[in-house]
């Protein structure tokens, strides 16, 4: 009963936006969920693995490019194209992981950043395949099993289903023995090695898992925007995801989701009322650090616990 309640509540919360009468808000909710999957994937690396990446847009971007390219240029069907995009991008993450995990700390950050910048340059420069800065367009959403994904609500529900799967599977992963090992490697790499863990392999698996879910987010991104251009691979795109993770609370499951809500809402809803929304975003980040340096989700947890303790003390 106690466990069923949050599940029911969160399912309701997840389904609620589909009831909104405004297509606009349905679409904003879709974007939040895509950003949340992307941030969750990065969180595996940053929050649980302790490895700060500034190149995670590589997986979102390459997967989006592959999906649209395969469908519009190579004439592949939607399902095989999406599957191939995820598989190929995950394969790329194996390669990138092997390269990046030569280092940790700042070295790791720089290798991921450099790999991301190389892909960005490639997207700009390899015009015959990527369309250069004009990008790839002319990509329509399919109608699988008679469901018209061009409808914002149908697309939202599909995204919500993928999000639910991603969230649950990533939750299972971080709570598994592997997840415990990953966090152990983050906090005490030497000790974990002594305990017989293969530190490098644990990190690589986390890297590839992050790449895989980043690719899944990329497929959704491609179908949502029906367009892809080099901007998706830009450093700012990677930085934005990192900021979502940290603002919400790295190393927590809900943190990246909350971070995605904050950033996407500021960017897409608040910006209609506040011209200097970038300034506001910066102030929000600074305020988070000033008042809840561990991130929003752990920060609110702390506040709630303290209040509960105080109420208990009063009684």
């Amino acid at each position: 009963m106690i466990r069923a309640l949050p599940v029911a509540l969160s399912s309701l919360l997840l389904l609620a936006p589909a009831l909104s009468p405004s297509d606009f808000y349905v679409n904003v909710a879709t974007q939040i969920l895509i950003a949340a999957i992307f941030a969750l994937s990065l969180n595996l690396l940053v929050g649980y693995g302790g490895l700060i990446s500034l190149g995670h847009a590589a997986y979102l971007g390459v997967s989006a490019y592959l999906t649209i390219w395969l469908v519009t240029r190579a004439g592949v069907g939607h399902l095989p194209a999406a599957a191939a995009a995820v598989v190929l991008t995950t394969a790329m993450s194996v390669l990138f992981g092997v390269l990046a995990l030569r280092a940790t700390g700042l070295g790791f950050l720089m290798i991921t950043l450099a790999l991301g910048q190389i892909l960005w340059g490639l997207a700009y420069r390899w015009v015959s395949v990527t369309g250069g800065d004009n990008g790839l367009s002319g990509f329509d959403r399919p109608r699988p099993f008679g469901i018209d994904l061009a409808s914002p609500r149908a697309f939202y529900l599909t995204t919500a289903a993928v999000f639910a799967c991603a969230f649950v599977l990533m939750a299972v992963l971080v709570r598994s023995t592997f997840g415990a090992g990953l966090q152990g490697v983050r906090d005490q790499p030497r000790r974990m090695q002594a305990l017989g863990w293969h530190v490098w392999m644990v990190r690589l698996v986390a890297f590839v898992a992050a790449g895989f879910w980043g690719a899944v987010a990329g497929v959704l991104y491609a179908y949502y925007n029906q367009f892809v251009s080099p901007h998706v691979l830009a450093l700012t795109s990677s930085a934005e995801a990192l900021l979502m993770v940290i603002a919400g609370g790295a190393g927590t499951l809900l943190g990246p989701v909350v971070g995605a809500v904050v950033v996407v809402m500021l960017k897409n809803v608040v910006s209609a009322y506040v011209t200097r929304w970038v300034l506001l975003l910066g102030l929000v980040f600074v305020a988070i650090v000033a008042f809840m340096p561990e991130g929003l989700v752990p920060g609110f947890d702390r506040l709630r616990r303290r209040r509960r303790r105080r109420t208990a003390g009063d009684a």
């Binding site: 974007q31 015009v127 015959s128 250069g132 800065d133 004009n134 251009s229 901007h231 897409n268």
Partner: protein, 409 residues
């Protein structure tokens, strides 16, 4: 009067009353611009052009008040799409003016077709928007990227008598398309492009490119946008190069010309506008613009002002009934502007204006730099002298087309 006649009278009167009320309903214009990030200067200038036109007309066009909803795309395609959806789905706009960058316009091209919302583009110049992937809901207020550059190539060969030219430009679609248009007609007229250099958009320093320019060319054709024209010309002068510089419209655009110095003097460029056009209509426009914003109008301001003009003229044709989208779009796509601050314009079958191309030269007058008009080419289409069908059968202008067959190692 019996109750029955009363009901009947009301029944008949109701639609007229609604119509009368409807005519006073504001026309909602979604203005997609850039207010944050690297392209914000262009976005601000677009806003100034649009606002000036509306202010001059008392915020009323074709008898109906105009309500402008300004939306910041941040210069990012994904955000542009969201903003467009917001304009259409949340604010129910009747027409969109924007967005700024070509890649933004391309990012929303499919959505616009699907949502059937009229778009007047005040700046996006990508060739294929009105060529190989045309959109019936799209009209451009500015020239396509190559449109002014095609006559310019011929001008460089025939009037200026240049034989050998080196090109350098931003390594992105706008740079490629403008350079390609210039190259094609310049080489058709017997000239040779002997060197082509492309600098990444985010290049830290043009030093190595400037130093690499072949010393034995007659001129250098520079194709830059945004801050890069300013940075390039600065560094070009710094190295003491004396070879004359030709430019596309944005290299010496009025928007950045005001921050340039002697390095810009003498640059000959092409465009569909110059603040120095010496006609009464343009003098009036420039004076009003200077009075309002203290600067000369350039690419973005003139583009947005023209977009508002197109909106106005099309609205007049349909008597303000913008709700009849098909009629409005038809009016927009068949506009024939007898005269304007840019001279006569007419929309071709693809939604692109046929316009005057101005060949300009940077000179100092009354203490400020201006693009003095050297020559005008009337009624220039986006296809120049080429047959449209044959033109469209060829690949879109790019880095690799037309082929750089005269480039020397």
């Amino acid at each position: 009067m019996s109750r029955r006649t009363l009901v009947l009278a009301l029944l008949f009167a109701a639609p007229y009353a609604a119509l009368a009320a409807g005519a006073k309903e504001p026309i909602r214009v979604g203005f997609l611009t850039v207010s944050s990030g690297a392209l914000a200067a262009g976005g601000r200038q677009m806003g100034e052009g649009l606002n000036l036109y509306l202010k001059e007309h008392g915020d009323k066009l074709a008898g109906r008040p105009i309500e402008v909803i300004t939306l910041d795309t941040a210069g990012q395609p994904a955000t542009t799409r969201t903003r467009t959806q917001e304009a259409v789905e949340r604010y129910k706009v009747h027409v969109i003016i924007g967005p700024l960058a070509a890649f933004e316009a391309l990012a929303i091209n499919d959505y616009v077709k699907q949502a059937k919302v009229p778009v007047i583009s005040p700046s996006a110049a990508a060739e294929d928007l009105t060529q190989r992937s045309p959109n019936p809901w799209f009209v451009r207020a500015v020239g396509s990227s190559a449109q002014p550059n095609q006559p310019f190539g011929e001008y460089a060969a025939k009037t200026l008598g240049y034989k050998r030219i080196a090109t350098i430009g931003d390594d992105f679609a706008f740079g490629h398309e403008t350079t390609a248009g210039f190259q094609r007609t310049f080489e058709d007229a017997g000239g040779k492009i002997v060197q082509k250099q492309w600098a990444p958009l985010n290049v830290a320093d043009y030093g190595s490119y400037v130093a690499g320019i072949k010393p034995d060319v007659d001129a250098v054709y520079a194709s830059f946008a945004g801050a890069n024209g300013l940075r390039f010309l600065r560094q070009y002068a710094e190295y003491g190069l004396k070879v004359p510089v030709l430019g596309n419209m944005t290299t010496v655009d009025e928007g950045i010309l005001k921050n340039m110095g002697d390095e810009a003097l003498g640059v000959v460029s092409c465009g569909w506008y110059s603040a120095a056009i010496d006609t009464p209509a343009n003098r009036k426009f420039v004076e009003a613009f200077r009075a309002a914003y203290g600067a000369d109008p350039g690419y973005y301001s003139a583009g947005a002002y023209t977009a508002a003009l197109f909106l106005d003229l099309a609205l007049q044709k349909v008597h303000g009934k913008v709700e009849d989208k098909d009629a409005f779009m038809k009016a927009l796509r068949s506009l024939n502007v007898a005269d304007s601050f840019r001279g006569p314009m007419r929309i071709d079958d693809h939604g692109n204006p046929v316009l005057i191309v101005y060949i300009r030269k940077v000179e100092r007058k009354d203490g400020r730099l201006q693009n003095t008009v050297l020559q005008t080419y009337p009624a220039v289409t986006q296809f120049w002298k080429y047959e449209p069908k044959a033109f469209l059968a060829q690949p879109v202008y790019s880095r690799d087309y037309p082929k750089a067959s005269n480039v020397e190692p």
